[in-house]
């Protein structure tokens, strides 16, 4: 199975129209997207740079943007990186794909939370990775289990979303972070930290990258400024940094125009303003989802989500069957089976609060629960 449809894409194809309760999308809340500032930034870079905004992008990304991202990382995530060590990509997914091409050979061991984010492991599978699932609990990946697995399976890569995990919402505890870094050092594991959600949460644990510079950090501005801009980045150094720049020549995929726009948005502090609002909105929405699930589907939540967009639940019945039924009543979500390393539990689902309006969450859960209960 080298190529397959992501369940996120499949679910979104089932949903054509008429969805009132969209728990499927990992998109940010449209009310937070700084659409007017995007317009203003477009006008600014049009005035200031003229046709340069339509020129070919260079490998590695626009220098001005790389400098702004380095400031942003320093201010918001306590990550200190020289701008040269920040490689701009066409979104975090593109970053993961390029890293997969560079770091993964046939049978390379990839240790990752199980369940994990199905879309980012797809390019790893395509390169022939041997995915090794590590169980998780409410405080993240079971690092003792990781250690046992690493002893048996040898050196490789840890691909992890330590904060506000996708699809479970859990965060790795401080102690486990230290343990993870120790294990990585002891068993020759390179860590890829995929981190889209930390900036959206005020009480998040520190990024692994801020604790250990060897960590390969993948970030994105999609959840803050808008996924349609396709601006993500990798923070790394040395040979991998150079190789990333070289392999970017193979697609030159990152739009010069959107790099300029994001540069101007960062420069004007728009990202920080969105983050300020996001830190009030998303935790409230996640709370509302958890409360509603506890009220209408008690016991369904499989992990206790700490932050981010997601809650992962047991659906009791086959989740694809449930999805087909629930779409007819205006509720969409993503079935959970494919999030498991070996296409596991058929009766699970990922619910997202990313783009649904707060006041619709409770009703959506109510509708879902009535379908599950066959009412």
């Amino acid at each position: 199975m080298r190529l397959y449809w992501s369940p996120v894409e499949l679910a979104s194809r089932l949903v054509k129209r008429g969805i009132t309760y969209n728990f499927a999308s990992g998109s940010p809340d449209p009310s937070l997207l700084p659409i007017n500032d995007v317009k203003r930034s477009f006008e600014t870079v049009y005035e200031n740079y003229g046709t340069a905004i339509l020129a070919y992008p260079g490998a590695g990304g626009l220098r001005e943007l790389r400098i702004e991202v380095s400031r942003y990382l320093n201010e918001n995530l306590n990550i200190n990186a020289n701008w040269r060590d920040i490689i701009i990509t066409a979104g975090a997914q593109h970053a993961i794909k390029l890293l997969s091409q560079l770091l993964i050979r046939r049978r390379t061991a990839i240790y990752t939370e199980n369940p994990t984010f199905v879309e980012t492991v797809a390019p790893m599978r395509y390169e022939g990775a041997r995915l090794i699932g590590v169980p998780i609990s409410d405080d993240g990946m079971d690092t003792h289990e990781l250690e046992k697995l690493a002893k048996n399976n040898g050196p490789g890569i840890v691909y992890t979303v330590p904060n506000c995990h996708n699809p479970t919402g859990v965060s790795l505890s401080r102690d486990k972070r230290k343990h993870l870094l120790e294990i990585a050092d002891r068993y020759e594991l390179r860590i890829i930290e995929d981190d889209p959600y930390t900036p959206l949460h005020s009480n998040a644990e520190p990024a692994l990258k801020s604790m250990e510079n060897d960590v390969i950090y993948v970030g994105t501005l999609s959840k803050i400024l808008g996924p349609g801009l396709r601006i993500g980045f990798v923070v790394t150094s040395g040979r991998l940094r150079n190789n990333l720049e070289m392999i970017e020549q193979h697609d030159f995929a990152t739009s010069t125009l959107t790099q300029y726009i994001v540069y101007d948005l960062l420069r004007r502090g728009v990202a920080n303003r969105v983050i300020h609002n996001a830190r009030r909105l998303y935790p409230r929405k996640l709370r509302e989802l958890v409360d509603s699930l506890n009220d209408y589907l008690p016991g369904a939540i499989m992990y206790n989500p700490y932050c981010g967009f997601y809650s992962f639940i047991r659906t009791q019945i086959n989740a694809w069957d449930l999805l087909r039924k629930s779409i007819r009543q205006g509720v969409a979500f993503v079935p959970g089976d494919r999030f498991f390393i070996d296409a596991g539990k058929q009766d699970t689902a990922r619910l997202s609060i990313g783009s649904i309006r707060t006041e619709l969450i409770r009703d959506g859960v109510k509708v879902l629960s009535s379908i599950i209960k066959g009412v």
Copy 2:
């Protein structure tokens, strides 16, 4: 050598500032870029679609854009394709990379003009392709030689720029086009037709795709609307079409915003207007380059360029040495060695008329000739 710097990138890194005569860049003429229409289209899609222009892109591309591209292909290139058979990519280079990933295994035979475009063959080499150079003359690839090579090396892929070849400027004659299609059929060769320049020339031979639907067609709007938008496309069908959509999920690299902008530009006929002007400007510039070369460096032109941006010349001395000297006198170009399949002739160069102003071409060639002649 799985990863290496493109000479185009290397040359552009040598050139930091102070270049008066830029023969290096394959960018389109800035005076033709419809920057004000890009602004107008931004405003239109902002008004009409709001935050949808910042949403995640779907695999395969924006339906509205695919429909407009299908109209564009029909009007300008006599290619008839259902919009579903048009896969939007983040530029043609991205398209070539995805195709390389899908079609190339270790030792897959890739038959291509020699010299060929160094940047597009880089992802093919990365996938382990066995590149087989086919000699070219003023009327394109030597198809008789291709036939001999195919007999010896077996089935594979023909990667070709049949119109306005990069880096030589030649075009494949009508008879050779027919012959190429016959050979492809007889020896099980799939054809990838890379076609950035045909729309810019009024007297071009028909695209291979318009003659034979099995051809995989790679197009771009970079040379017309601006490379910084990163919008290209593949025209193909069946299983390859589906696989392209699936592998696009691995990077989701194409900006939603620039897809909407290009959709609106096509809808308003902006591309056709640019094409109208391009068909007057570029042939004049290429003529000026050829005339100047004949005047100041007689015998230097290795192939007789028919259309597009390039002329490929003999430099008499090592082209990298020449470049270092010429940059100091304000002249840039791309050394030609890497355009050869086996890093060939050190005393060759690609000169581009893409972005240099017409009135500077003659002087630039004069300066270059004086350096070569050691005056």
